[in-house]
């Protein structure tokens, strides 16, 4: 059993020493009225430095990152995170600067942000970028705000609905709802693409826009994207690109050329910055020039070789982050793009698509693949055959992969595929790793037929067995409380 840090606490133990006070003793004063003072100390651990370090080291050993092994989580782009990027973000000239320092003392940081914006414009075919959103969903929200601000600026206030595909990430409808839009789902057709007839029927002067990933969450390229764009634009709506799947198309095709008006990118997916166990990410958004005035403030401008932060933007939606976004993540993405250049970025997408199609081809005999044709960076398999024949679900397959020291794929998403296993290998995996994964998947399929009961009990070799999630939700215990 893993003890909590609080349970390792020893009264009086400590790891931190404050420097001795150098204020002359007669001048030490405190001026806080007594009723503003805390009556009881906050209950924090009391441990030595060595025990603190061992505690968190042990917890790291009970975790699993890309550096630990294969991580084919669909839609998450768990690629290798280059180490030079970590070095760069920790340089004192980046990590040690205060966001309100005078502009002349942070020219290097502003230049990096400005150049990153320019490079993202070129990569996506958009005209202007903001780096302020701190995550993909934050970027979506900022994009939806821009859509709303644009329609409002034209006095076009009856657009109260946003269209999202039935295969969309949950963030798309949740974002539209945060902006007060009613969410309308457009169906997927039998090929897994946006149903054009359904889309046409849904369009009206009440539609603010369509939020779309391309390739979509099935890993399929929306071949009719130009037509989709025309349908949306003809009805006065805007087209939003969700960049969750951009790893498939960098250097090959650009959202700006497909007809998208706004797009976000996930620097923590496509541009190699680490996911950090859930964050920080960074979700910059790009817009076509007619929307640039609505971008959040401040924008970075360059005049005569000097960089400035401009807050004077009357049409701007305002701010979505207290400062300028997740600068440390931007440094890593900038370093990544500079390392790869044009040829390297194109190779990223080429190899991401190669790896995905290699896995798809080799798994197709054993697992059902509902849309089994050329995919992009990911594809969706299904455990419905295993479920029907042996009662083995996508969840069981996932847990069995854990026993084979592999992170499971995304399961039960997208919602339009039963027992979905959404697999995204990324470009940074060797063929040997892919073959080992295929072998593991085939072995699980065999075990499903030969020994299903053991599979339903998986994992057997992880640090815990399957946890009681129902109990956790019925009687939530969200913090530790002392026994006495």
């Amino acid at each position: 059993m893993s003890k909590l840090i609080f349970e390792k606490s020893v009264k009086g133990a400590r790891a931190f020493t404050l420097p001795e006070s150098d204020i002359p003793p007669e001048k030490v004063s405190e001026e806080i009225p007594a009723d503003f003072l805390r009556e009881e100390d906050p209950l924090l651990p009391e441990v030595s430095e060595v025990e603190a370090v061992r505690h968190f080291t042990a917890l790291s050993q009970r975790s699993y990152g890309v550096d630990s092994g294969f991580y084919p989580l669909g839609s998450c782009t768990m690629k290798y995170n280059p180490k030079i990027n970590e070095w760069a973000a920790r340089l004192p000239g980046f990590a040690g600067i205060h966001p309100y320092q005078p502009e002349e003392t942070v020219q290097g940081a502003l230049e990096l942000m400005y150049e990153l914006e320019q490079m993202l414009c070129e990569i996506t075919g958009m005209d202007s970028f903001t780096l302020q959103p701190a995550a993909g969903a934050h970027g979506e929200m900022t994009g939806a705000m821009i859509i709303k601000a644009y329609h409002n600026s034209r006095g076009d206030t009856k657009r109260t609905k946003m269209i999202v595909p039935d295969s969309a990430h949950g963030t798309n409808p949740a974002t539209a709802n945060m902006l007060g839009y009613k969410v309308i789902e457009v169906k997927s057709d039998e090929r897994g693409l946006v149903d054009l007839e359904d889309l046409r029927a849904l369009m009206s002067d009440e539609i603010a826009g369509l939020m779309l990933t391309n390739p979509n969450t099935l890993g399929l390229f929306e071949e009719n994207i130009r037509e989709i764009a025309a349908i949306v634009h003809d009805a006065g709506g805007l087209l939003y690109y969700d960049g969750a799947n951009a790893n498939a198309i960098i250097g090959i095709a650009r959202p700006g050329d497909m007809g998208f008006d706004i797009c976000h990118l996930n620097l923590h997916k496509t541009f190699g910055t680490p996911h950090g166990g859930g964050g920080p990410g960074s979700g910059p958004i790009g817009v076509k020039s007619f929307l640039a005035d609505f971008l959040p403030v401040p924008v970075i401008e360059k005049h005569e070789g000097k960089y400035h932060l401009n807050y004077n933007r009357p049409l701007s939606i305002g701010k979505v982050h207290t400062f300028y976004g997740n600068f440390g993540v931007m440094v890593k993405a900038y370093t990544y793009i500079k390392a790869l250049g044009s040829s390297g970025l194109k190779a990223v997408s080429q190899n991401a698509v190669l790896n995905a199609n290699y896995l798809r081809t080799k798994l197709a005999g054993c697992y059902d693949i509902p849309y089994n044709r050329l995919c992009k960076h990911e594809f969706v398999a299904s455990a419905r055959k295993q479920k029907k024949e042996a009662g083995i679900t996508a969840l069981d397959v996932a847990k069995a992969l854990i026993d084979r020291r592999c992170h499971p794929p995304t399961v039960y998403f997208p919602l339009i595929v039963e027992e979905a296993l959404m697999i995204e290998p990324t470009e940074t995996e060797t063929r040997e790793r892919l073959d080992a994964f295929i072998e593991a998947m085939l072995e699980i399929d065999r075990e499903a037929r030969e020994n299903p009961e053991r599979l339903k009990e998986a994992p057997h070799r992880a640090v815990i067995r399957r946890p009681d999630e129902t109990g956790a939700a019925r009687n939530p215990k969200l913090k530790w409380t002392p026994k006495d």
Binding site: E30, P92, G180, Q350, T361, I464, P467, W480
Partner: protein, 440 residues
Amino acid sequence: MNYVPNPPWVVRQMLDTIGAKNIEDLFADIPEALKLKRDLNLPRPQSEVELRRELAALAGRNLSADDRPCFLGAGAYDHYIPAAVEQLLLRSEFYTAYTPYQPELSQGVLQTIFEYQTMICNLTGMDLANASMYDGGSALAEACSLACDATRRRKILIPDTVHPRYLEVIRTYAMGGKMEIITVPGKDGVADPDAITSMIDSRTAAVVIQHPNFYGNLETALQQIEKAVHGVKGLLIMAVDPISLGLLKPPGAWGADIAVGEGQSLGNPLSFGGPYLGFFAATEQLMRRVPGRLVGETVDREGNRAFVLTLQAREQHIRREKAGSNICSNEALCALAATIYLTLVGREGLKEIARRCHQLACYAKQKLEQAGLKLKYQRPFFKEFAVTIPDPRAANAALLKEGIIGGYELDGALLLAFTEKRTCAEIDRLASVLGGIARE
């Protein structure tokens, strides 16, 4: 550099397996007209040697608070980060992990979040805390949004003693249409309790109080405002500085329903404004409306202690358009930094740090007054205060010339922050430079 591992001959064999002639075949589904027919116009690829040179040069063009005394605060603070925090964050099982959706593989990450939630609860005196938000401003905006959902009301009252950028973020979030943000002018550097209570009515979803406020002052009428807003069944939202909670009475004790704040001070570098973390804590009654991820303790099938993401039906991936928030990625690694930081400084250390910041600020007040300057507000403060200076920009320039990073420029004043890293000698220099300007 190139992080694609398969050599060309392996790629060739893989293409054969797939049945593709060449790599371009894999993109046959993209219409020709949409394909980029040229190379992206980007700088040529660089080796690590070149990258180090370029990045070091860019970083070198910034003035780092690591080598200069820094008196800037206003929401981001130059507190000391113990070496062990930085070292442990480099454990790549932590930083290269995804969100812990697979509990059997992620017990370590899940346990650190559970410990983080516990620490935030203990600091703020609240019942529960989530796994983190983007930053202080967005956490506050989400708190306002939650208050509107929970009370089914629209009106949010905010004194203008709240950080002006937080206010801007809240206003931007209000574009959704469910919040009506009303700013109430403050009085003498604190919220005006009479103005606020006179505006509280049965349509009031919440009152927001930042304490200490943007100007560093303690909000002295908290009790009166709390009574008034709870009197109409509205919520009290407090934004607090986590370091101050080593010394000051926590939001829970003031009767706050939601407590949020900027967590950067807890072990995260200044890093030009991000990545930081917003902490978010609330009362038990609001549990099922709290945005973002929550980790809960449970047992596995053999009865062993286990941690899982829980109450997920609140979140966007399940509730979709009915979710209260769209947040997905958070600031987990920054929250881990906060957890390690709070572990290392511990119960006594946080108290000592908070006390030292306050004592240094009090000492600075004495020195500045002796040098002929006046504080803009004669009020109790924690670690930050505004000193009256007719031309704050010129004052900052003069300080910079002396190698000092000055304060945040207010109208006719400089907002100065004092962390435990500042020394008596640095404050003496600050007072001497500003005193010199005052005498001119």
